[in-house]
Symmetry: C3
Subunit: 438 residues, 3 copies
C-alpha cells in the first residue's frame, strides 16, 4: 500500500515541465494531473482582484513563447527549452533592445555560471530573462531582439483541496505548493509526496482524525485558503505539516513551530529521538514557506516541516540545478517516510484511562505473565507500568517515555487492556471521542 | 520515649515464626500480638468472597502439618521446621507420588543451594513444597509420601487499623503488611517499626495531623482497605509512608511517588539532603509493594517508602536467608529513625504569615539583636530574613532553603515570632488550622 | 537635557553638610534645597507619635552644638566640624564626666583609626560621641566636659513627594532617603541622582507611565509613606527603583527583588546583559535599604536597586571616609545613567499586536526591502520576524531576544509598522492603554 519512490519519481517527471506560476495553465495542468491520482481532489477558483486580508489576488498570467535573438537570428535564450528563462509574471515585450538596456533585464549568478536562477516579480510590473552566466558573458552584440508573448488578465487563481474524513472532526492539515516552474526538490517533490500521503491515508481509511490536503500557490494561495477557512482551521486543526523539499538524498531537516511547544512538535521530536534520524534542527527564524502564514499571529496553527535539504540551505536551491537529477526515488521515499511516520504517530497517540480503581487482577485475564510483541513469554512489569500511568494525564508517547517502553509495545498493551475493558482510550485531541482500537 | 532497636528486635522475634499468609491464624496471631503493644488497634474482618474493585477476597487458608517422607519413613522436608517449606495456599494432599511428578511440585534455587525460596499460589489452586537445592539433590528415591494438612474455606481476612487523632482531621497514613511467613527484612521489620512509630506518636500526643496506621496483607489487603475508605483517604491523607524492609544494616533506600512531586517527596527529599543519609534513590518503575495500590490511578495518594535494603534488591530477599540474623537491632533502629524523621518534619513544617505590614519594630520585642539556638548573641538578619519570606507563599522548608537557615532555627524563630504575635502559623496541609506552637 | 555629573556633584556639595537625621532641620534644609530644583515637590509632615503599623513616629530631634572639652578647655571633638561626631538622637547632656564613664559613650573603629563612625540610637534614649580612634587614643585626662545641646520634642517628620503624570495612571516609583548626616555615596548621591532623574523625566514629558519620587528618611519614612499610600501603591506601581549608593566610581551593583521574577527584574536583567555593565549581582539576603519595607509581606512592590558600590560592601561605608572625595561627578553620572537606562527601557517596552491576519503585504508599504537604523538597505527578515512574534504574547524585550534584534531596532520597526497601522501597541503594564508612539 505504501507508494514507492519510483512511482513518486514518475509522477514528479510528469509535472516537472508544466510552466507553473502563481496562476495560469501550468498550475491547472499540475492540479489536473494530481486529480487523476486523487479522484476526490476538489478544484477551487478565486477571481483575480479578490481582497484577502492585506492582499489582492493578482491577475492571471499565461505565457506562450519567449526568447532573445541575436542580430543574426539565433535564439540565445529560449523559454521553450527551460521555463526558468523568463522572470515570472513578466509583462509582454517585442522589440530591439540595446545591450546596455537589456542587461538591466537579465538575471544570472556569476558564482554559479552554469545555473539559470529563478526570479519572479508578481506585484511590480516588469519583464526579464534568466540565463546562465556563461551565456550572458557571450552576449556582446550591440543590440538584441527580445520577445515575450505573455498575457496578464482578470482570470482565476487555482487551488486543490482533498478531504479524508476520519472518526473525529478534528483534522490533520497537510499543505504543499504548486507555483514554481521546473524545479525538483523545491517544487515537484512537495506535491508528489503530499499526493502519495493522501492516497495512502485514503486507502488506510477509518482514521481517528480527518485529514485535509491543500495544494496551493505559496504565500498568496495560503493566504486565500486561510481567508476562506479561518474559523474551521482554528477550531479543527490539531496538527499540521508543510510538505516541501522532500526529494533529495541529503540529511533530513526539521523546522519546528514558533515556540516549539505545539503538539506537532511533540510528535516530531519523539519521532526524531526514537528513529535516530540524522536530522538538522532549524529554528523559527529559519522559516520560509507557508508556515509564515499558517502560524502567523491570529492564525497560529501547529505547523512543522520535516524536509530533506531545506530551502535556502542547499547550493542548487532556486536555480535550474534543482532539477530531476537533484532529486531521486530514494530521496522522495525518505521524504514520504518521515512525514508518514509523524502522521502515523498522530493517528496512534492517544490517552488511556484505567477503568479500575487499584490494579486490576491481571492474572484473571492471563495478563500477569505477559507475552510481548517480541513473542517471548516472561513475567514482566510492562502492563503494570502502563496501567500505573493510565491516569488520564499521559498519552502513549508520555507512557513510552515514563515506562521505558517502545511505542509499538505501548500500543500492543493498550489494545490488550482495551479488549478486556481494563482501560478506555480517549482521542488525544478530541477527548470526547473514545477509540475502540489503537 | 523513642523505642530502642533491641525492643523492636524482641517484638520481631515474637512474631517471626507465626505462619502468616493472606489469611488465617498466622495473621490473627500477629495482629493479636501487636494489639498487646497498641491497645487501641482495631480489628477488621472481611468475608471471603467479598468483591473489592476487580478482585475477590480469597478463601481463608489454614495449615496444621506438612511433610515429604522418603519410603523409609524419614521426613526430608517438614513445615514444622520452617513455614516457608509449603507453597502458600497449597491445597491438601496425602499420597504416594512418583519422583518425576513430585519434582513438578518442588521449588528450589540452584544458584542459592542453601536457601528455601518463598512461593505462593493464592489464586490458582495447586500444592507444592519449597526446599533447599541441596536437599532436592539428595532426593533420588523413585517415590515419596507427601502430606499437606491444609484447609481452604469461607472465612475472613484480617486487617488491623489504629487511629491517632491530631489537631487536624488531615491524616498521615502509615501502612505495612502482615502476610509473609518467617522472613526478617521483608516482613517482620515492617510491622514492628510501624508499631514503634505508632506508639511513639501516640505518646507524643497533640500532633498537628492525625495519624492512621494500617496493618494488612499486601495487595489484596490494601485493595480491601482502599475499597472501604476511598473517599476518606482521598480527602484526608496529606502524606503517606509504606513501612517495609526497614530492618537490616545496609544503606537506606528511597522510593518516591509516581511523578516525584508530592508533598511527601518534598519532605523526604529535604530530609535526605539535610541529613546526608547515604541513600539509594529508586524510581517509580522500581515500586513493588502497596504503593502499587495506594498510588494507582483514581486513588493517587502521596505515598513514598524510606527503607533499608529494598525488596527485590538484596540477595536474601524472598528466601529463608532473610531471617532474624539478616536483620538487627541497629538496622531496625535506623529504619525507625528515618521514618520518624520524615514524620517529625511533616508535623513541624508549616506556613508562617506575617501579621504586620512592613517589618515589625523588632527592637521593641528585643528581637533585633538575636540569640540563636547556638546561644551566641550577635546582630544578625535571621529574623528579618525569616519575616521577609513569611508572606504566605513559603513553608518552613522553603524558608530554610531561601534564607540559608537550619530547620531547627526556623522553628525556633517561628516560635519567638508567634509568641509576640508577629506571625501566625497555618497548618501546611490544612490552612484553616492555626497552630499555636511549632 | 541629561543632567551632567558636574551639576549633580554641585548639588551634592550643597546638601552635604546639612545635619540630617530621621527628623529635624537638616531634613527640612535638604528638602527645601531639592524643592528649589524640583518646584513641584510636595512637602509632607507627620506628627511625632503617629502610629504607623508596628511603629511610632519618633520625636523631632534638633541639635545646635556639641563638643568634648579637655580640662584645659580645648575642644577635642566638635560637632560643628563634622556632624558625624554626635550619635544621632543623642539626649542633651552638659557635665564633667570621668574618663571611664565617657569611654562608654564614645564610638570609634580601631581598625580604621582615621574614620569617624556613623552611629544612631533612634529608639533607645542615650547620648554619645563618634570620633577617630586616633583622637580617642590621645584622650588620657581623668575627666572631660561634655556638652550636647540637643532637643527632643513633639514635632514632625518630613517627607518630599513628586508626581509626574504620564499617559497611564500606572506608576514607576523612585525612592531615596534623606536621613544620614554628612556622607557621600550612602547619602547625598541618592537624593541628587533621584532629583536629576525627576527633572529629566519631567522635562521629557508625555511619558507612558506616571512617575512618583519619594524622598523620605530610611525605614520609618518608608513605613510612614507606605502606611499613607498602601492601596494606591499596590494597585498602581508597576516598577520601582530605590536610588541609593549611586555616586562612586567603582563597579555597578544590582539587588533584585525577593524572588527575582518581577517586571523590574526583567528590565534590569535585560539592561545588564545588553549593556555589558561590569555589574555585581547580589541576592535578596543582601538587601538593606528601603526595599526591606517596600517588598515586605503584604506590600510586595517590584523594587530593585541599581547601585555603584553597595551599602555594607565598601570600606568607607558608614564612616566619615564616605565623603565628597569618595564620590565624583563621573560616579554620579554613571549612577544616573544606569537608572535612567532602566527607566527608559520601562517607558519604551510595550506589547505590539499585529492588526492583520497572515503576513501583511509588506511590499505595498515599501517595507519588504528594509532600511535599518544603520542606514544600509538590504533585504532582510527583521520586519517579518518582528511581526511573527507580534501576537500579543511578547513585549519588545521578548521580541528582541526571540528575533535576535537590538532593542533600538525593535522600536524602530514598531514605529514603522504602527505608522502603517500594521500593528497596534499596548502599554505593557496597562494593556487598556494604546500607545501611538514608542
Amino acid at each position: 500500500m505504501r507508494i514507492s519512490g519510483d512511482l513518486m519519481y514518475k509522477w514528479a517527471r510528469e509535472i516537472y515541465s508544466y510552466p507553473r506560476s502563481l496562476t495560469g495553465d501550468g498550475v491547472r495542468y499540475t492540479l489536473n494531473y494530481l486529480k487523476s491520482l486523487l479522484p476526490n481532489l476538489e478544484m477551487i477558483e478565486i477571481q483575480s482582484g479578490t481582497k484577502v486580508f492585506d492582499w489582492t489576488v493578482p491577475q492571471e498570467w499565461t505565457i506562450n513563447e519567449a526568447w532573445i535573438k541575436s542580430k543574426n537570428g539565433i535564439k540565445l535564450v529560449d523559454w521553450s527549452h527551460n521555463n526558468l528563462h523568463v522572470v515570472g509574471y513578466s509583462t509582454p515585450v517585442h522589440r530591439m533592445v540595446k545591450r546596455e538596456e537589456l542587461l538591466e533585464h537579465l538575471h544570472s549568478i556569476p558564482e554559479k555560471p552554469k545555473a539559470i536562477p529563478y526570479v519572479t516579480s508578481y506585484y511590480k510590473p516588469m519583464w526579464g530573462f534568466c540565463l546562465t552566466h556563461e551565456t550572458l558573458l557571450r552576449m556582446n552584440d550591440p543590440e538584441y531582439e527580445v520577445y515575450i508573448d505573455s498575457h496578464l488578465f482578470d482570470g482565476v487563481m487555482n487551488i486543490g483541496e482533498l478531504f479524508i474524513p476520519g472518526r473525529s472532526t478534528k483534522e490533520l492539515l497537510l499543505t504543499t505548493y504548486i507555483c514554481h516552474p521546473s524545479m525538483g526538490n523545491n517544487e515537484v517533490s512537495g506535491p508528489v509526496v503530499a499526493t502519495a500521503l493522501a492516497r495512502t491515508l485514503s486507502e488506510l481509511g477509518d482514521l481517528p482524525y480527518s485529514v485535509r490536503v491543500v495544494f496551493a500557490p505559496e504565500t498568496i494561495g495560503a493566504i486565500v485558503y486561510i481567508h476562506k477557512n479561518l474559523e474551521r482551521l482554528k477550531s479543527s486543526v490539531v496538527a499540521a505539516l508543510n510538505i516541501t523539499c522532500v526529494g533529495d538524498d541529503n540529511a533530513f531537516s526539521f523546522l519546528p513551530t514558533k515556540y516549539g511547544d505545539a503538539y506537532t512538535d511533540k510528535l516530531a521530536e519523539y519521532l526524531i529521538e526514537g528513529k535516530n534520524y540524522p536530522i538538522k534542527r532549524y529554528c523559527w527564524l529559519d522559516r520560509g514557506s507557508d508556515e509564515r502564514q499558517y502560524c502567523s499571529p491570529h492564525v497560529d496553527l501547529p505547523m512543522v516541516s520535516l524536509m530533506r535539504s531545506k530551502y535556502n540551505e542547499y547550493e542548487e536551491y532556486h536555480t535550474s540545478l534543482d532539477n530531476m537529477e537533484y532529486i531521486s526515488p530514494t530521496g522522495l521515499a525518505g521524504g514520504f517516510q518521515v512525514n508518514f511516520a509523524v502522521i502515523d504517530l498522530l493517528m496512534r497517540n492517544h490517552i488511556p484511562v484505567s477503568t479500575k480503581i487499584c490494579e486490576p487482577h491481571l492474572s484473571k485475564y492471563c495478563l500477569y505473565n505477559f507475552k510481548a510483541s517480541s513473542g517471548v513469554e516472561k513475567r514482566d512489569n510492562r502492563i503494570l507500568n502502563f496501567l500505573t500511568f493510565a491516569d488520564g494525564r499521559n498519552d502513549f508517547i508520555d507512557i513510552a517515555r515514563l515506562a521505558n517502553l517502545k511505542f509499538d509495545d505501548v500500543c500492543w498493551i493498550a489494545n490488550e487492556l482495551r479488549r478486556h475493558e481494563l482501560i478506555y482510550v480517549k482521542c488525544h485531541s478530541d477527548p470526547g471521542l473514545e477509540l475502540a482500537r489503537v
